[in-house]
Assembly symmetry: C2
Homo-oligomer: 211 residues x 2
C-alpha cells in the first residue's frame, strides 16, 4: 500500500467538529465524495476512546481500501494496525517514529519551513504536510507560512507534499502550481452537513488545478 498512496484529497478528522460516534459515517460519506486518505486526529480523547474510534473508522477505511493515518499516537497506529502515523513538531521525533514504525508503515511529518521539511526527509518521512497554507481556526497555533515558503518546501524535498491549513473549495485555486501533490482539509468537510458533496466539490476544484 505504501508505494501507491493517492494524496490528492486528504481528510483530517476533528472530534470538536464531529463527535466520535458519528465519525465512521461521516468518513464513509467523505470517501464516497472523493477523499483519498484519512487521518484520525483525537487530541482530547482517552487512549481507550482513541483506540475505539480508530477501530471503528478503520472498518470504514478498510472497506473502501483507503489508508488510515493516525495523528501523533504511534501506540494507536500499532494497536489498530493503521497504515501510518502523522506527526508534528511537538510529537515524537521523526527518526524515533521511523525506527518504531518499521519500513512498511507510512510516516508523515508537518513542516512549516524548507528546513523542517529537509529534516523530515532525512529522518525518514514518506510525505510532508505543508502547514499552514492559509490562516485557520482549527489549530490555534497555526500560522500561514505564505506561498513563497510553500513553493520552497515543495522544491526542496523529493517526497509527496500535502498542503494543510484553512483550505476550502473557494481558495484551492490559489494553490495551483506551487508544487503540492494534494490538499488536506478538516473543517471544509468535517464541519459540514453533507461531507460527500463537500468532498466532491473539493475533488472537482483539484481537477481544475491539475491534481
Amino acid at each position: 500500500m505504501k508505494s501507491a498512496i493517492d494524496y490528492r484529497l486528504y481528510l483530517v478528522t476533528d472530534s470538536r467538529l464531529c463527535e466520535p460516534r458519528l465519525l465512521p459515517d461521516a468518513v464513509a460519506q467523505a470517501i464516497e465524495g472523493g477523499v483519498t486518505v484519512v487521518q484520525l486526529r483525537e487530541k482530547d480523547a482517552s487512549t481507550l476512546g482513541f483506540y475505539n474510534t480508530a477501530m471503528a473508522v478503520k472498518k470504514v477505511t478498510d472497506t473502501y481500501h483507503i489508508p488510515l493515518i493516525i495523528n501523533d499516537r504511534l501506540d494507536i497506529v500499532l494497536a489498530v494496525d493503521a497504515a501510518g502515523l502523522h506527526i508534528g513538531q511537538s510529537d515524537l521525533p521523526a527518526a524515533v517514529a521511523r525506527r518504531l514504525l518499521g519500513k512498511d508503515k507510512l510516516l508523515g511529518v508537518s513542516a512549516g519551513s524548507a528546513g523542517q521539511a529537509a529534516a523530515a526527509f532525512r529522518d525518514g518521512a514518506d510525505y510532508i504536510g505543508v502547514a499552514s497554507c492559509f490562516p485557520t481556526g482549527t489549530k490555534s497555533d497555526a500560522q500561514a507560512i505564505g506561498f513563497e515558503e510553500i513553493r520552497k518546501i515543495c522544491a526542496s524535498v523529493a517526497l509527496p507534499k500535502v498542503g494543510i491549513g484553512g483550505i476550502k473549495a473557494d481558495n484551492v485555486a490559489q494553490l495551483e502550481s506551487l508544487g503540492l501533490d494534494g490538499i488536506a482539509v478538516v473543517s471544509a468537510i468535517m464541519g459540514q452537513s453533507d461531507p460527500k458533496k463537500c468532498a466532491a466539490d473539493l475533488a472537482e476544484r483539484l481537477r481544475e488545478i491539475g491534481l
Copy 2:
C-alpha cells in the same frame, strides 16, 4: 529484569507536583531514599515533552538499576525502551497492550475490583495496581474501595499487588496483612521538599508491616 521486580516502594510521578526539569533529580533522591520502581505519569505533556522527560528520567533509573514504567503511553515505552507500561481502565485494552509489548516488557493494570483484577490477569498483566486504597486528591476520579475489596483483590490473583491512592507514612500501617506486595505513592514523595527522607520514612514503615 522482569522476573525480579521489587514492588515494595513504587513512586508515581506527577508533573503538577514537580515540574519536568526538576523531575530527574527528585527521582534520584527518591531512589536514594528507597524507592524500588518508578512510574512516569504525564497527563498534560505533548508527546515530545513526555518523550524528553522519559529520556531524562530513564538516565536516572538506569543509573540506579531501577525499572522505569510509563503510564498509559505504549508509544513512549517503545520510544525510550522503558521496562514497562502501566494502564488504567480508560487506557488501551490490556490484551492489546500485552500483544504490542511482547513478553519481555512489564504490564501493570489498575484494578478497583476483584473482577477487574481477574480480567487483567487473564489479559496478561504482570502486576496489579490496587486503587484506591484511601481517598486521594491526586486523581480526582479515584474512590477508596475499602479494605475488604483490597483483601478480595489480593486473594483473587496470583500476581504482585501494589496498593495506590492516598497512601502516606501515617496510614501505611493500616495496609498490614491485606495481601499487598508494595505501595505506590505520588504526593507522599513528589510533593515534598525532601524526597529522599520521605522515601526512607515510607520504606521504614513498610519494614514495620513486614514488607
